[in-house]
């Protein structure tokens, strides 16, 4: 179990601020490299956005939804086999919108089949598309947008664009106007070998990771909000928390990159060139969610695991974030999600702009949350009739909720746009010993992206620490 901050020692080799999947993974890699590691989390629960909460016998997963196959190898290598063995496939992914209806296993074979038979795209075009995106690297030219990429291969086919883009927009907040390479890298990972989930739920995963970290000797403190990263003469010296300074050779911030630069570190620590570049970082959009728990005596028949639904005639990245968007995903959690737990829950997710929710009075906010719930129920009724009366718990989260729990700038649930990656990876060259890990650049986003980025940054930290010896 995490300990109280008063039990932390005065000095560690490395301090990790924040316990999102990137922070947790960095802590685990660095303790594996032989360093003493202190992990500090401001919230009472570990996991960052990989989180859950309990209401009236239900357990709601906030961001479990589904992740790519790559998680299997990543969990085995950077966590343990027990964690890897809990990863299971979600086989029924549904698309339902005015342009098409289909059910897919979300892998290359099935997508190829659907594109060929249902969308009448030639085999050679499909193969060429898959080959093209699979060959994309993050250091490639970024002038081409995803919209241009789609137009190249599937000109005028807004239905195909929708099939290819909608899931990715929900996965990382990217749009048709983001660099095509960010799309290609994520698509190749995601819509290639199926969608997977963690059997036992987010709580089990974070619990297993916590145990692994403790077994490996990481000191973990919750309810410990870091006030300041201490920098002296261009070098990190440690952190300040609850009026105490703790020394460290390196600090890894798993706070948002914009929070790390603007809220945690002295502005004097950065050069004006660096500040100018970092001021241009655009954070991604936030989310709205509606969490619904089905009454104990009721159940959900098999309606699919993950439903991409929309009533909007054509896919439109702006519409997807609209206050009253007609597009949402439904993540359906059957008892199989948590063996031994017999309840059914549905989590509806929408992309959303922080600015749309920021200025309400408390009264307006309450009213708009209720309206959001009602709009969601209307949409859900198409798949789960009389939804409202069959639930015994319904609750909504908005960009303000995301901001409150993660402290992320503008409640971003998908980190930053592409330019955030370069700043995140080079911050230690600006302030020696200061590193950042977290969702940046679209490609380092989602559960798999966050964990892998934790490993990449740990490599930088290890190289830095050893270069000081």
């Amino acid at each position: 179990m995490p300990v109280s901050f008063s039990q932390a020692a005065d000095k560690y080799d490395v301090i990790v601020i924040g316990s999102g999947l990137g922070g947790l993974t960095s802590a685990n890699r660095l303790v594996y490299c032989g360093y003493s590691v202190l992990l500090l989390e401001y919230h009472s629960q570990l996991g960052g956005l990989a989180t859950w909460f309990k209401r009236k016998g239900h357990i709601f997963d906030v961001s479990l939804h589904g992740f790519p196959y790559g998680m299997v190898k990543t969990c085995k290598k950077y966590w343990n086999k027990e964690i890897m063995n809990s990863i299971v496939q979600l086989k029924d992914i549904i698309f339902d919108n005015p342009q098409f209806h289909l059910k897919t296993t979300f892998d290359r074979v099935d997508f190829t089949d659907k594109l060929n038979k249902q969308f009448k795209i030639s085999q050679s075009t499909i193969d060429a598309f898959f080959t093209r995106v699979a060959g994309m690297n993050f250091y490639d030219d970024q002038s081409m947008t995803t919209r241009e990429l789609f137009e190249d291969f599937f000109p005028g086919r807004s239905d195909v664009h929708r099939l290819l883009m909608e899931p990715i927009s929900y996965a990382n907040g990217s749009t048709l106007d983001d660099p095509a390479i960010t799309y290609g890298i994520v698509f190749s990972n995601f819509m290639n070998k199926g969608v997977f989930t963690f059997e036992g739920g987010t709580d089990k995963l974070i619990g297993m990771m916590t145990t692994e970290l403790e077994n490996n000797g990481v000191t973990i403190c919750t309810n410990a909000k870091v006030d300041r990263i201490v920098v002296d003469k261009g070098v990190v010296r440690g952190i300040e928390c609850q009026g105490r300074m703790i020394e460290a050779g390196a600090v890894v911030s798993n706070s948002g990159i914009t929070n790390t630069i603007h809220n945690l570190t002295d502005q004097d620590a950065f050069s004006s060139e660096f500040m100018e570049k970092s001021n241009k970082i655009r954070v991604n959009n936030s989310s709205c969610q509606v969490y619904m728990g089905v009454k104990k005596e009721d159940k959900i028949d098999d309606i699919g695991d993950l439903l991409f639904t929309s009533t909007t005639p054509e896919f439109d990245s702006t519409e997807l974030r609209d206050f009253k968007t007609g597009s949402k995903t439904f993540s359906v959690y059957y008892p199989k999600t948590r063996p031994g737990h017999d309840r059914y829950t549905i989590v509806a997710s929408m992309n959303s702009n922080y600015s749309d929710w920021d200025n309400f009075t408390e009264e307006e906010y309450k009213k708009e949350k209720e309206a959001l719930i009602q709009r969601t129920l209307v949409d859900l009724n198409r798949y789960f009739p009389n939804a409202q009366e069959r639930m015994d718990w319904i609750e909504a989260a908005t960009p303000r909720t995301f901001n409150r729990y993660t402290l992320h700038t503008r409640g971003t649930s998908f980190g930053t746009k592409f330019e955030g990656l370069d700043i995140s990876r080079s911050i230690f060259k600006e302030v020696n010993g200061l590193f950042h890990v977290g969702s940046v650049g679209i490609i380092m986003s989602g559960w798999l992206g966050a964990i892998n980025y934790g490993v990449i940054v740990s490599n930088d930290v290890d190289a830095y620490m050893r270069s000081r010896d």
Partner: protein, 83 residues
Amino acid sequence: MTRDAIKDLILEIIEDIDEDADFDTLQADKPLRDQLDLDSMDFLDIVMELRKRHKLQIPEEDYPELATLDSCVNYLEPLLADA
């Protein structure tokens, strides 16, 4: 470290990454990535392991030198001369 010892070291590290890796048909002059289904994260693991075991600092721009077993040995031989 001899060339053979370096080769063994690399294979040992890869085996830790993927216990199912099949070295029987491995061609030393062909990319490891294609033959063993390694991805960029696996190469990062190799770099970290070399640093851990032999205090080797391999800069990011040199990662392409690790593409084949032969190129690994050529690149690492002078660096591990005293190991």
